[in-house]
Amino acid sequence: MSEPAMEKQKPKVAFYWCASCGGCEEAVVDLAENILSVVAAVDIVFWPVALDFKRKDMEAYPDGAVLAGFVNGAIRTTEQEEMAHLMRRKCKVLVAFGACAQLGGIPGLANLWSRESIFQTVYHDSPSNANADGTLPKTFYRENGYCVSLPGFFDTVRALDQVVDVDYYVPGCPPTPKILHEALGTLLSGKLPPKGTVLAPDHALCEECPRKDTRPEKLTLTAFKRPSEVVIDQEKCLLAQGVVCLGPATRAGCEALCPRGNMPCTGCFGPPSRVHDFGAKALSSVASIIDSNDEQEIDRIAGTIPDLVGTFYRYSLPASPLRRKKAAPPAL
């Protein structure tokens, strides 16, 4: 019969989610009708959120048997690290899918704290806790001859390429259906771009933003405003209204979804290829347009952005040169 023979020739793809919100999985589903063409072209052999394949099924494949593996989410636990290595072994091409895998993502902001302080808050100090015994999660617990285990919890959140070798990146939080569709097309076309390419256009978001023409040629600001502090005009450039929009520093490809939704860009597509560190460059461009030469006034204006790390490194703290807040070495 021809059908089974054809099925044998369909390339295999695998999906896995690490420290993730599930939005990237949603992005696949958001392909809507296009998902049919995906399903027709490939064999999904691993997708924990949607299909029932187990880890041992992946382990059973020969190395490199899966054409493309899409891993989303950051690496926070030992299990995620193991799975990242597994995906790397089994997949010919490993794609860091979404901002968390590419840059560390929102979970990356936890790098401002240590495991100890996180556990302290979550299991002790949180007002809604009832944990009189002070129970904390452990990696192993034995009782009655039985043993239960939990993955280890790293002190530092890492991006995927800080754990395994990554071939391509699909940016976004989450990647838009369009970007995903184009990425899939590129990967299945056989004409692979150079290793390490981010599968999205290589210029900044302003290129695609409908508000672009309304930014004055010479813009400098005496205050920054949060979206909650001002009624945002639907047509004017957000930065021109004093709202910190990171469009100028962020890679294009999403067709300026957030500005079209009357909200500023927060940088989820990461930087274009010419930038070494997203947060530092974004900070540089925003600070450069502060309209003052007096130190105190500069501090006042800069002070209207209260959370610098959250603003400039919202998605990219683990990928930044500093990676995390300076940590004490763990008690050995």
Binding site: T78, L112, W113, S114, R115, E116, S117, K138, T139, G152, F153, F154, D155, T156, V275, H276, D277, G279, A280, K281, L283, S284, V286, A287, S288, I290, S292, N293, E295, I298, D299, A302, I305, L308, V309, F312, S320, P321, L322, R323, R324, K325, K326, A327, A328, P329, P330, A331, L332
Partner: protein, 160 residues
């Protein structure tokens, strides 16, 4: 978040010598450093100067890269406000430095590690004082030790 303590393995007693990366503008601070040389002034050998045309060229990426690569301190030297050879470059540097300082503090990098000095071409003495002062302060703070080396992850798992 427990306070990051200086690494006890290489404390002040063991002669920790901080490494400072300095970005000097060509027209003022670099000339001041040259003048310190021709005047045979002596100061601590911990600083490595990278020459730029203007303090306005200093990209925050450079500062972060320096810390990430092992610098214990970063010093930026530029012309006094109003005297910039390129008119306003030092003001742009000032704006970036003020914001970056606050961000670095949030990241646990102490204020004394990132310093901006206005030093004109004739102020060799001011340069010497600034460098020596920064070295002293960094000796007291200890090494930055930013890296979370791989072995920490293995230790972490054991500890967890």
């Amino acid at each position: 978040m427990p306070e990051a303590k200086p690494d006890s393995r290489k404390g002040q007693e063991n002669g920790f010598e901080p490494k400072i990366v300095a970005f000097f503008c060509n027209w003022c601070t670099y000339l001041a450093a040259d003048l310190a040389g021709t005047s045979r002034m002596k100061y601590a050998p911990n600083m490595r100067v990278i020459r730029l045309m203007c303090s306005g060229r200093v990209d925050p990426q450079f500062v972060l890269e320096a810390f990430a690569e092992g610098a214990d301190g970063v010093l930026i030297g530029g012309c006094h406000p109003g005297d910039c050879h390129y008119q306003e470059g030092n003001y742009k540097a000032l704006r970036r430095v003020r914001m970056l300082k606050r961000l670095l503090k949030t990241m646990g990098i102490e204020e004394e590690r990132f310093r901006l000095e206005w030093i004109s071409a004739s102020e060799a003495d001011r340069l010497k004082v600034a460098v020596n002062d920064m070295v002293e302060k960094l000796r007291a703070l200890g090494p930055l030790k930013l890296e979370t080396p791989k072995e920490f992850f293995a230790e972490e798992v054991k500890a967890a």
